[in-house]
Subunit: 292 residues, 2 copies
């Protein structure tokens, strides 16, 4: 007898695992970013759960609303557990269609629009696609320009534009500088440059004059040695770069520099990119040029 | 007499403009990203309004909760209009403190947690900082790796990694390829490369063999000529690059290539980065590797 499962049994097992899995839908007449963000914040409050996640964006016709209902109902039929639907549909007629699906329907406009209308003494426009939309070409340009700034001023390649920077991140290689700068640019239009701390700074124990002259903009990133070693190994396993000794040496020297110049810094080990970015803005007081 | 306003009058005018402005607070025990996203989606439904926006993140102690209340109440006192407070505080005790401020209090956990607890037959953890937190080191690494991939495979510099790409964006210079690739990487962990269409492709009317071999991954970006001209002028005002004739020529030739190879494409003129990214995922069916 073969040790492999017969195909019928395998299919049955897959069916069972699918049946016990709950599907979460993110519905939007737009990108779905708001529904995903809202839903994710709420679902992370329930430990040990796994959800199949489906985003249905750009529901901007009656047909698409009915199609979304079919998908939700199909998921409801094939699983023992009712789907959960996070919805950010603005238009009443589409919302009315989707509300009749077989899922648990949670819609931010259902709940929050009325108190806001009362407070602002103004009817809402009920127009689709305003958030994360091209409502503001100026915002788009600011984000693009900030992204170009981050790319051009990455990794200390160029230092002559530091006058224009809102913030300059410093830290050892692979401490998270580049993704954080790009996130600050894309999300908030903030001009973020970064400068890597290397042997040159460690040997002298000082920062280059150009950085000292912009000291108020400096913000340091640090990270636990074991974590940094792990990250560096994935990049370049061989040589001194990813050894425990080297990683510890660099982080210790970077810390000395942070303390010498009084540079505020954050340990990125336990943080997501969003958290690092938020802590930098919170700590430095740098203004968001754009709000997504 | 000086033409400048006397300081007292200037201060009074500033006071008046401040009084008529409504402040919106985004409160969070975490980054504030969810509160900002939710609030922004709702507020864009009210036309012609301008709000002063203040994010108060990392409210994770009783003291910080009281400090937030002081800031809200101070804004309430100095303006004729009550502040609006979008809150995503998970812990009941902090939420109770903040709810007593003089603002209009809108909290997603107040509204949605109970129906979710009932549906999932599970109490929520009420633990701060789970969304956008480092709950998942694997997710963090995926986003970082995807960002590194986007940077390494930007602008057609390297084409040998296209096997690993989830999607390869093609389009003329400044059509939005780079920011979109970076956004797809940071937000969703998607591996996005991009290749610029230039004279080489326009002269031959064909794509390089390496792109043809990955045809199913190609996605085109196009843009209105006037808008592209405006963007290019800000980058390099002189020379052929930003002339109406050149811009029209390139866009026309790019469109021929899209049609010749049957490449799906989107016009980015009216779209934000989020919209472009969502439309690419929606159109190609590329799976999000990470959900923020």
């Amino acid at each position: 007898m073969s040790t492999e499962q017969p195909p019928v049994a395998a299919a049955a097992i897959q069916e069972l695992s699918h049946m016990s899995e709950r599907t979460v839908f993110f519905l939007s007449d737009q990108t779905g970013v708001t529904a995903e963000t809202l839903g994710h914040s709420l679902l992370t409050q329930f430990d040990g759960r796994h959800f199949r996640q489906v985003t249905l964006p750009f529901i901007d016709t009656v047909d698409k609303a009915h199609e979304a209902v079919r998908k939700i109902n199909s998921a409801a039929e094939s699983a023992a557990l009712r789907p959960i639907v996070f919805s950010t549909l603005v238009q009443d007629d589409f919302r009315a269609i989707v509300r009749n699906s077989d899922g648990l329907h949670l819609d931010i406009f259902d709940v929050f629009l009325e108190p806001l209308e009362n407070e602002l003494k103004q009817k809402s426009t009920h127009t689709a696609g305003r958030a994360h939309g091209m409502s503001d070409i100026e915002s788009y340009m600011k984000r693009i320009e900030a992204t170009n700034f981050a790319l051009a001023n990455d990794d200390g390649a160029i230092t002559r534009n530091y006058e224009m920077a809102d913030v300059i991140l410093v830290g050892v290689s692979r401490s998270g500088k580049t993704p954080t700068c790009l996130y600050l640019a894309l999300q908030y239009g903030v001009y973020a440059a970064n400068f890597p701390l290397t042997d040159e700074e460690f040997d002298s124990g000082t920062l280059p004059e150009i950085l000292v002259s912009q000291k108020s903009k400096l913000f340091g990133l640090t990270i636990a040695p074991t974590r940094l070693q792990q990250i560096r190994k994935e990049r370049r396993a061989l040589g001194r770069y990813a050894t425990a000794q080297q990683v510890r040496f660099e982080l210790r020297e970077a810390d000395k520099i942070f303390r010498k110049y009084g540079i505020p810094h954050v340990d990125t080990t336990e943080f997501s990119i969003e958290e690092i970015a938020s802590r930098i803005l919170d700590s430095t007081g740098v203004e968001r040029r754009v709000r997504p």
